[in-house]
Every structure is written in C-alpha cells, then in structure tokens.
C-alpha cells in the first residue's frame, strides 16, 4: 500500500513539474524512458525467474490452479468488451489493452505509454489503480456475493502482493496460495498480453 502511494506520488510530481514547465527542456525523458523500460523489463524477468513459489504451489496443488487466472482473464476481457460500448474515443483494441493491465498499473501504463500513446498510458494507469482500490474496498462483499475466489480474480496481478492481505482476510488463509499463484501468473502475462494487444491496434 505504501509503495503504491510512493509510485503515484512520483507520477503526480512529474505531472506537476510538467504542467509548471519548471524543468529544463533537456530533461524530457523520451530517450531515457525507452532505455529505462528495457532495463525494467529485464529486471522484471529476473525477479519472475528467481521466484520459485509459483512452481512450488503448482507442485502441491496441481494444474487446476490455472483455472483461477484463466477465469480472471476470460472474465476481464468479456467485461471490458461489454463495457467498451460505453467508452468514448477509444478503439476496441485500446480498451482491451487497458483491461489487460489486470491491476498491474505501473508496468501496463509504462508499456502502453511507450509503445502506443501517452493518453492511453494515463488511462491504463487510472483504470488499473481503480481496479486495485475497488478490490481493496469490496473484497468482503465479493466473497458474499460471488464466492471465495472472486476477490482474487478482482485483484488481478495484485493478488500476489498489495491485495493479498485483504484477500486472505475475506476468503480465509487457505486461499493465500491460490491468490499468490494467481497473481504471479498474471504478473508474467501482463507484459506479454499488453504488448501483444497494443501491436494489433
């Protein structure tokens, strides 16, 4: 939670500095941010590869664990496709790319901002922050209405870290492993799916 706030604070500070135009024009981040993105993707790869918790979970629980992230992916894309009709000035692929962030707002907004457009990058940032907040607020209600897997699905990629404590409180500690595994699968898939969908637009 604290990290999320710091991340947003950096974004807000950049926004303010940009609006006030107080930084010298030489610092326009364009080239630097491309390289920083490359570095980030490499590092994200390392941290995924070094983490063997997903494999361990799979060994003890079996392939059925994949059903939960699969449900999240199908449900998210179906839901976003349905609500796309209500959005304005967005292409279908753009809505889907934003949805494919699955709550992983830092990475999805950076990739979309870099590969597509900054406007869509901001949309991805806002939409995926909102997904995390909705999950944090509504997790107990989701359990009541849609069963114990629902807060995990709602949390998307965040179900392995930021929303994990809320999820285990709402669904029970026995769901910690399902939640962790679900979040890790989506964390791996977010950069792949976002990049792929953006390339189709």
């Amino acid at each position: 939670m604290r990290t999320s706030l710091i991340i947003l604070l950096f974004f807000a500070t950049g926004l303010l500095a940009g609006t006030l135009d107080i930084l010298p024009a030489a610092i326009n981040g364009k080239d630097l941010s491309t390289w920083a993105l490359y570095l980030l993707m490499f590092l994200v790869g390392i941290s995924i590869g070094a983490d063997d918790r997903a494999l361990e979970a799979l060994k003890s629980h079996g392939l059925k664990l994949f059903l939960v992230p699969l449900a999240t992916i199908i449900g998210t894309f179906a839901g976003v496709a349905a609500i796309h009709l209500a959005t304005t000035n967005l292409l279908f692929g753009e809505s889907m790319a934003v949805g494919a962030g699955f709550g992983y707002y830092s990475l999805s907004s950076i990739i979309i901002g870099e590969l597509h457009s900054e406007a869509l990058g901001v949309t991805a940032l806002l939409a995926n922050v909102m997904r995390e907040i909705i999950t944090l607020l509504l997790a107990p209600f989701f359990v009541l209405w849609f069963g114990k897997l629902s807060p995990i699905s709602a949390g998307g990629a965040t179900s392995m870290d930021t929303t994990l404590p809320i999820i285990t409180r709402a669904s029970g500690n026995e769901f910690a492993i399902v939640s962790l595994f679900h979040g890790m699968v989506l964390t791996i898939l977010v950069p792949l799916l976002v990049t792929f969908i953006v390339s189709l637009i």
Partner: protein, 94 residues
Amino acid sequence: MLEILFLMAFGILIGVLLRGKKRAVFWVEKAILWSIFLLLFFLGLSIGGDKLIMASLPSLGLNAFLISLGGVAGSVLAAWATWKFLFNRKRIAQ
C-alpha cells in the same frame, strides 16, 4: 515491441540461475522499484507538458473508471462460475 519480450525472456533465464541468491534478488527488486518510480515520473512529466492530454483528463478518467468496472465485474462473475462448478465441489483450495 519484440525487444521488450526478448529482454524479459532473457531476464527470466538469468533469474532461474539466481534462484536462492537472496541478496542479488533483493537488489533486483529495489532496482525494479526505482525504475518504476523514474518511468512514472517521466510519464507524468510529458503528460503535464501536454495541454491536449491535460484538457482531456476528465474523459480519460471516465473511460478508465468504466474499463476497471467492466474488468472487475467480468472477473468476479467468471470467478463465481469457477467456484460454483469446480472448486466448491472438490475443495482443492485446502
């Protein structure tokens, strides 16, 4: 676009080799956090300097809200179906 995926795949390979090396992984996590800080600062910077995007921020926000709503609604419904038809019967979550 391809270079991003290649870099990530290469990273995963290195990561597998680094398994169990807690110190190295700790620094990688720290570097990830700082790259994210930096990149979001720059994203903010160029958006703040772009009057067109700043003017359309309310409509971007509304689109974002709708997409998050659609995504969450769709996924809790899919999770409900999964729960009802698969998990609840066999209780693999134990």
